[in-house]
Symmetry: C2
Subunit: 215 residues, 2 copies
DNA sequence: GCAGTGACTGTACGCATGTACAGTATTATG
DNA sequence: CATAATACTGTACATGCGTACAGTCACTGC
């Protein structure tokens, strides 16, 4: 029998997961290699031995998080369509905080997370087209732009999860059951809308005029 | 006649503005006092002389940005209602990048920006109530929550402005004229909605059941 | 004119950082 | 069992950091 505290991940994986957790909690710039090593229970030198530099470690974290997210999304896609594009990624305790990591690194703009965002949008375009086809979603004049806006709103709410928690008592990075105080008004907004049609027409025409005048 | 390059701000103001710009560009943790001093054209020691510590400087920046934003919002409120809650804050060149500063510091969670967000939501609740009264906005079952969600979506889109720029070719921190590629699909979404009423009913009932079971 | 006050700089100190390096333990390979 | 390779640590070093301090300059009030 193995002790309860045994950790059968390789040291490399432990370092990576500790880095993800620290980066997620404090941001990359405010996290030291030493604190990561301490969290992983290894020496700082081993971090460098396995990853070379802090920046390379961060890139490895980016790739790992992106890979896990892709995997989860794929698994979720087979289970059928979902309203919430982040549902499959909600965090289990005792596993690296993927969503919190994303929330932190979305602002720093590495190529890896940019590519991930692009994928999320592309997937959204695709499954929203299916939804429109089957009558589950209303059609749009700008399907790609609409998917991009919705994805950014979802991710933006994730990035601001601390504010949402304070405002509504909802933790978007936690289990789905805790998100209803956000999901309910959001769904209402996305069902009945906010603006009367007349306003949209006016905005559309005004923006159209701007476009022509601008070029 | 004064030379073109003259800068009649006090050194204190120049330091503060330089700090806002650097914090906005690189984040607080990745910005050194020395780089701020260089940008302001003063010695690092003067930064400390005026503000005491880097953290105190950052707090002063928070307060300044919050004060300017409140002032702008007040001025905008007198000019009548606005669709875009951030419209009054769009950046002029040659002035500190308020919105970019906000976009960076919204994630770090200081009390000052939290209070500012709370104010933005409170204001939104208020002027959306007026909008509903006058028929400009549709009513809601959850007016406060709706205002919070919309505010968070706006701010979230701001925080992710680099991604939006890449996805749609829109700079949310720039002049309003460049934002139409975002504003158009967003307005469409907030007019016609995304989901048929039946889905909302189902979500509402499911979330209601969750609430009862959860407590 | 002169003391006083605040703006401002140069220098320096202590500390934390990222990481290189030499060396030891552990494991894999013949 | 011997050898090679890899995992891992302790130590050390250069760098950059925040900031304290002593001192200079410019201006104000008497």
């Amino acid at each position: 029998m193995r002790t309860v505290t045994a950790d059968d991940r390789t040291a490399r994986a432990r370092i990576r997961d500790a880095a993800i957790a620290r980066f997620a909690a404090d941001g990359v710039a405010a996290t030291s290699v030493r604190s990561i090593a301490e969290n992983a229970g290894v020496s700082p030198a081993l971090v460098i031995h396995h990853f070379g530099t802090k920046e390379a470690l961060r890139a490895a974290c980016d790739r790992h998080v992106a890979a896990v997210i892709r995997e989860r999304k794929l698994a979720a896609a087979e289970a059928g369509p979902q309203l919430d594009p982040l549902a499959a990624l909600r965090e289990h305790p005792d596993e690296p905080p993927l969503l919190r990591y994303l929330a932190r690194t979305l602002v720093d703009g590495t190529a890896e997370v940019a590519a991930l965002v692009d994928e999320l949008v592309a997937d959204a375009v695709e499954y929203m087209a299916v939804g429109v086809e089957s009558g589950m979603l209303k059609p749009s004049d700008h399907p790609r732009e609409r998917a991009a806006v919705l994805t950014v709103w979802s991710l933006g709410a994730l990035v601001l999860h601390e504010h949402l928690d304070r405002l509504l008592g909802t933790d978007l990075t936690g289990p789905a059951s805790g998100t209803f105080r956000y999901a309910l008004p959001a769904t209402e907004l996305l069902t009945y809308g906010l603006l009367p049609e007349e306003i949209y027409m006016r905005v559309r025409d005004a923006l159209g005029a701007l476009t022509e005048a601008g070029s």
